[in-house]
């Protein structure tokens, strides 16, 4: 199976530090041969590594403005987080009108689509047809995290499409009716705050084919938009109100449910312990759980420009000013549901076969015991345990641990020294001693070479991980 990921590494920029490996929530990164390497079937595109990389070597692949040339008619789908980038006095109308001046023929607010999802959520909560606790499906990074690390919670995920997808379908329909153009000539382009949404477009786990054609990052539209915002004459384009715009920040989606009993968790490292508690049924009394991989919600997305705290405040003000939007009538759920069944990922499993997996687990424990339990990351794995696992899987060597390597070298050197010491009276070495000394020297040489060749071998091997 091929895994598409928006998050990639810029090998030139990577200096091989170990910052990212210890922040990755799915232990998906290793440093091999002085460069980071992403294990594709574990990556959930949360963007955490992009945020922590001081060399800016982790990037999200998104589309450039050139994508607009592929279509006769282009519609921008701005994520609500875009509204928070410019200041609290810039209205949604201004931003949307700005988008129509930098190359788009029309706009459709994802915030408005979010209001449909909110309405549908309320309806289904009323009918009692949502799982308990119901987990929001809005953040694709969290949905993927669940499939990789918390598969027993898959059935708690509300199987509604992301607002982006809903917006795309609505925008497409409207454009077809308005222009008479066929689908292939209509470009629906998401303005994205995050790599995870890009992955949702290219390799959705919820729909067979996304109605979105591509995504340009908030970062890439920012300057162009800023250039036109000063003089743009705001047209009456904004339809979304307080409820939809608030989806950009933590708690916005929960507000839309009108529930009292909900939990809002932002930041992937905070999400993990809560999912773990849910898995143990410790939070069964919570009705709705809103998770976002990014701190503060989508305003904290890795591809935004504005500081997320400032942006959060902007969103609050803009949402307040937008007030109530036109009420959404009865929503038909079938237009908004997942087309595919979410499945558990086997990316973390040791083996398909239980007996083989247990054998590997025992070996891992044995290897791990020989390690210093410092989780220093110098070997390129996030923890001693992870290195032990890599060793048993055949993707690394125990000597990748610098402590084990050093101890080994020390033992060999000591033995050589002792042989020499026993002949300090000038007596000759026995043939056995000569053979042993040769053997030890050869081992030392091998260790020295191991480091380079071993690493290179692993780079090729890791692809199969």
């Amino acid at each position: 199976m091929a895994y598409y990921h928006s998050v990639t590494l810029d090998r030139e920029r990577c200096r091989g530090c170990t910052n990212c490996i210890q922040h990755c929530p799915t232990e998906a990164i290793r440093v091999r041969g002085g460069k980071a390497k992403i294990i594709k079937d574990r990556c959930i595109d949360c963007g955490e590594c992009i945020r922590v990389c001081s060399s800016r070597a982790k990037r999200a692949v998104t589309d450039s403005f050139d994508i607009l040339k592929n279509y006769k008619y282009n519609i921008a789908l701005p994520a609500p987080a875009l509204y928070g980038q410019f200041g609290s006095d810039i209205t949604a109308d201004k931003i949307l009108s700005g988008l129509t001046e930098i190359g788009f023929d029309d706009v459709f607010e994802v915030a408005r689509a979010a209001e449909y999802i909110s309405a549908l959520t309320r309806k289904m909560l009323d009918e009692g047809s949502l799982p308990k606790p119901a987990i929001s499906s809005a953040c694709p990074a969290v949905v993927r995290l669940i499939t990789v690390r918390f598969p027993s919670l898959i059935n708690n995920i509300v199987n509604f499409l992301e607002p982006m997808e809903v917006a795309a379908r609505m925008a497409r329909k409207k454009a077809r009716e308005k222009t008479g153009l066929p689908d292939e000539e209509i470009g629906v382009i998401f303005i994205t705050p995050c790599p995870a949404k890009m992955t949702s477009i290219k390799a959705s786990i919820a729909v067979n084919k996304s109605a979105v054609n591509g995504a340009i990052s908030v970062n890439d539209v920012y300057l162009r938009l800023l250039g036109v915002l000063k003089n743009v004459k705001p047209k009456n384009l904004a339809k979304a109100g307080f409820e939809g715009i608030s989806w950009a920040r933590r708690g916005g989606e929960s507000y839309g449910t009108r529930l009292q009993n909900y939990i809002v968790v932002d930041g992937i490292q905070n999400v993990i312990p809560i999912l773990s508690a849910m898995e143990n049924e410790k939070l069964n009394d919570v009705r709705f759980a809103e998770f976002s991989a990014c701190p503060l919600g989508c305003v904290g997305g890795a591809l935004n420009v504005a500081n997320s705290y400032v942006s959060l405040n902007n969103i609050k003000n803009i949402a307040d000013r937008a007030g109530k939007s036109k009420p959404i009538g009865d929503v038909k759920d079938k237009d908004f549901m997942f087309e595919k069944q979410l499945g558990a990922s086997s990316a973390m499993n040791l083996d398909k076969d239980l007996t083989a997996a247990m054998k590997k687990m025992e070996e891992i424990e044995k290897v791990c015991e020989t390690m210093p339990q410092l989780d220093c990351g110098a070997c390129g794995a996030p923890s001693c345990k992870a290195l032990a696992e890599d060793v048993v899987r055949g993707y690394a060597d125990a000597y990748d641990c610098i402590f084990i390597m050093r101890e080994h070298v020390r033992n060999i050197t000591n033995e050589l020294y002792e042989i020499a010491e026993s002949h300090k009276d000038g007596s000759g070495m026995t043939s056995d001693e000569i053979a042993r000394a040769k053997e030890l020297s050869k081992k030392l040489l091998e260790l020295e070479q191991h480091q380079q060749s071993g690493y290179n071998f692993n780079i090729a091997e890791m692809e199969r991980y």
Binding site: R149, N349, L350, A357
Partner: protein, 136 residues
């Protein structure tokens, strides 16, 4: 595949670590999500009991041919009336323990609910041994 855990009876902040560690092990082994969930809920409750009632002890958790078997042992006060202890809502937890959020009296009933078999061997003044079986 045997995992051994020492269960502290004094440090409440680490209560639950054995079960969360074993949960990770089961997931890595590729055990089905539903079984992982049942094992970890039952194991967590037994672990908490070993901490708050048993005063600490030890745990052996094992994946065998066909089942997961978990044994908790302690040298605590023992259980006077097992039938009573098994009832929903029955608890002898102290106020301090309740303040920590334990002591709803649902631990043993939940263990029964989520396991395929459970056995309690206990003697007042000597200690308690509880065995949990979940079939694969």
């Amino acid at each position: 595949m045997l995992k051994h855990y020492d269960i502290s009876g004094t440090d409440f902040s680490v209560a639950g670590e054995a079960s969360s560690n074993f949960k990770v092990v089961l997931k890595k082994l590729g055990i089905s999500p539903d079984i992982v969930r049942r094992v970890s809920i039952a194991m967590y409750e037994a672990e908490i009991n070993t901490v708050v009632h048993g005063g600490g002890g030890e745990c052996d958790a094992e994946v065998l041919d066909g089942c997961v078997k978990i044994v908790f042992k302690d040298d605590g006060p023992g259980i006077e009336n097992v039938e009573l202890a098994m009832q929903e809502g029955y608890s002898t937890a102290s106020d301090t323990v309740r303040e920590l959020g334990f002591g709803a009296g649902m631990g043993l009933p939940n263990i029964k609910k989520y396991t395929d078999d459970m056995k309690i061997e206990t003697q007042v003044g000597v200690g308690t041994k509880i065995t949990l079986i979940v079939n694969l």
